[in-house]
């Protein structure tokens, strides 16, 4: 990534267990970036768009999004992020249990960058996260609009 520390990872995942597993494996892949974890859409959106430390106002980010959120549908959040706004170029990785073709298509239509189904098989899961980590370590995240 651009600068190992500057890109923050925003993880929107309501299941604590999943969040922990994801975090563990990202760290195992050698990613040391800041990971912010949110368990519902409202607080996540608020942080992303309004908080002074959030990606809208403070540096690039990468978003890991689960679609099964308690207070709103993940696709709504995706639409908000990818709609016209400061975060529309932010890479979004949809990481969810659903493997429904219609859902996948919809997410891509809304502009997500990657769609990954969480496999139940843990080995595959862990590997996928690790590879995501490696992926994260080599991708370039675009600068936020309006930044100096």
């Amino acid at each position: 990534m651009n600068d190992h520390r500057s890109v923050s990872i925003v993880m929107i995942e309501d299941d604590e267990g999943h969040a922990r597993l994801i975090e563990k494996n990202i760290r195992r892949a050698g990613i040391l970036n800041d990971i912010k974890h949110f368990t519902d859409g409202t607080t996540a959106l608020d942080f992303m768009f309004n908080h002074k430390d959030g990606p809208a106002l403070n540096g690039p980010a990468l978003i890991l999004l689960d679609l099964n959120l308690p207070d709103m549908s993940g696709t709504d959040i995706l639409a908000k992020i990818k709609g016209d706004g400061p975060l529309k170029r932010t890479p979004v990785v949809v990481l969810t249990t659903t493997d429904d073709k219609v859902e996948i298509q919809r997410c891509y239509d809304l502009g997500c960058n990657v769609y990954i189904t969480k496999p139940v098989n843990y080995e595959s899961f862990a590997q996928a996260i690790r590879q995501l980590g490696l992926f994260l370590s080599v991708i370039q995240v675009p600068e936020i609009e309006g930044e100096g």
């Binding site: 299941d15 999943h18 139940v120 098989n121 843990y122």
Partner: protein, 502 residues
């Protein structure tokens, strides 16, 4: 409600036919009556006519006798007055005919005592008159004209002619009386006839009115019943549509439920598996420590700790792992079934022979490995149905046949099909290990299996096949004997599109 309607119609038709029969009987009876009356009247009229004729004949005879008597009288008078012999001849001619005429009257009025009495009186008078006439004629013939005239005047005084005329009038009047009587009788019988005709007419009219009325009412009833039936049929259709809609909704509900459940069950499963793997990793670290501790400081390693690290932890983790894996497979199976239920069915014309060959090819490896043989009895009837579903069913059934062979017997799997009107059935027969009769229904249940559990599987295949068969409007069943083999029969409508619209 239908039953009541049918009974009412049936009942009223019976009543109607009874009424109609009664009316027709009355109608015919009236006609017969009218006919008989006409016949009777004709006879009576003939009778009357003959009697009237008779009366006229009698009158005629009386008149003739009268004429003869008068003729005799006038000719005698002429003879007496003129003395000419031709008067005598005519008189003699008339006098000769008179007995005959009187006899005729006697003959004709044989049944009438009044007339007979009158006739006898007349005869007496005529005989007396005849005597006198003969005498006067003789006198005239003898030339004694004056004497003859004197006798003649005396005869006239004796008033026999008037008496005879009076009698003859009386007889004529008697006949006239009889005539009037018979006339009246005739008129009354004619009236009787008309009365009977009128009665018959009225009866027929009543019968007609009743018949027409009954028929009209029956037809109105029928029309009303038909309308009611139509309403029933309409409401029945509405009901069926409602129920079908209800059923589809219920079905959709179940599909959604299965889908949601599987997904929501997957989420915690990810956690269980994930953290079990973490546990495993952690166990390795601990085991490593125990190993090193055993080497360097064995006294701090308690038996409990060693067992825990070496046996308990790995065993527990092992069981958790296999169970979660199994749960994963089961959830996937449910998800697949529910997805199948939601998929849109696309009927098309299928070449089933082709599809079976395709399945055979894809299973070729397995078939060869297990020393089995797949035979297709051609021709297999084609069908209009969903391609994917039929493929899945055939594939599953044939694969099962190859999987569940009888050890020691080379497997022979036969596929055949037949068409029976609007339904087609395909049979997949094998000579494998067979299924016990009490498990014939069980094998189609989800997650249930039967017999020797030496083949991998979850008990999903046949449940899936049955669900698919139902969705295609068909059925599946099995005939089997343990140890002899099994025949699975799939019965489907010939055309799914038609079945759907029906």
């Amino acid at each position: 409600m239908f039953e009541r309607l049918v009974t009412r119609i049936g009942g009223s038709s019976r009543t109607v036919s009874r009424w109609l029969i009664v009316c027709m009987v009355i109608g015919f009876a009236s006609l017969v009556l009218a006919g008989l009356s006409a016949a009777w009247l004709t006879a009576r009229t003939q009778d009357h006519t003959s009697w009237i004729n008779h009366t006229y004949e009698v009158e005629l005879a009386i008149a003739r006798a009268n004429t003869l008597v008068e003729q005799a009288e006038t000719t005698r008078r002429g003879y007496v007055i003129s003395g000419q012999p031709n008067y005598l001849e005519i008189y003699r001619a008339a006098a000769a005919k008179l007995p005959g005429a009187l006899t005729r009257i006697e003959h004709l009025t044989g049944d009438n005592p009044t007339q007979q009495a009158s006739l006898r009186k007349m005869r007496v008078l005529i005989d007396a008159l005849q005597g006198r006439r003969d005498r006067t004629n003789a006198l005239v013939s003898a030339g004694r004209l004056d004497e003859a005239r004197r006798v003649f005047v005396r005869d006239t005084d004796a008033r026999q002619m008037p008496a005879i005329r009076a009698l003859s009038d009386a007889m004529a009047r008697e006949e006239e009386r009889l005539l009037a009587l018979r006339d009246t009788e005739q008129r009354s019988s004619v009236q009787a006839f008309y009365a009977t005709l009128a009665l018959a007419g009225v009866l027929l009219l009543i019968v007609a009115i009743i018949s027409v009325g009954t028929i009209l009412r029956y037809m109105r009833d029928l029309a009303a019943s038909r309308d009611t039936l139509r309403d029933f049929a309409d409401s029945l259709e509405e009901l069926v549509k409602e129920r079908t809609a209800d059923l589809s909704r219920a079905n959709e509900e179940i599909q959604r439920f299965a889908y949601i459940v599987s997904h929501d069950l997957r989420s915690p499963l990810v956690n269980v598996m994930g953290f079990t793997a973490e546990l495993e990793a952690a166990t390795i670290a601990i085991t490593g420590l125990i190993d090193r501790a055993e080497e360097t400081a064995p006294d701090i390693v308690s038996e409990e700790a060693r067992l825990a690290a070496r046996e308990d932890l790995p065993e527990a983790i092992g069981f958790i792992r296999t169970s979660t894996q199994k749960m994963d497979r089961l959830i996937n199976a449910i998800l697949k079934l529910s997805r199948e239920g939601r998929r849109v069915i696309a009927p098309e014309l299928l070449d089933v022979e082709d599809m079976v060959s395709g399945v055979g090819e894809s299973l070729q490896h397995m078939i060869n490995d297990r020393n089995a043989q797949l035979i297709v009895e051609k021709p297999l009837p084609g069908i209009v149905s969903d391609r994917l579903a039929i493929e899945q069913i055939l594939s599953n059934l044939i694969e099962n046949a190859v999987k569940y062979l009888q050890p020691g017997r080379p497997g022979l799997i036969t596929v055949r099909g037949s068409r029976d009107g609007a339904r087609i059935s395909y049979e997949i027969e094998d000579n494998g290990r067979g299924i016990e009769p009490r498990d014939h229904q069980r094998v189609f249940d989800l997650f249930r299996r039967s017999g020797n559990q030496d083949q991998p599987g979850e008990g999903i295949g046949l449940a899936h096949v049955r669900a698919l068969a139902y969705r295609l409007g068909g059925m599946i069943d099995v005939r089997s004997e343990l140890g002899k083999g099994a025949t699975f029969r799939l019965s489907l409508p010939t055309s799914l599109a038609d079945a759907a619209t029906n």
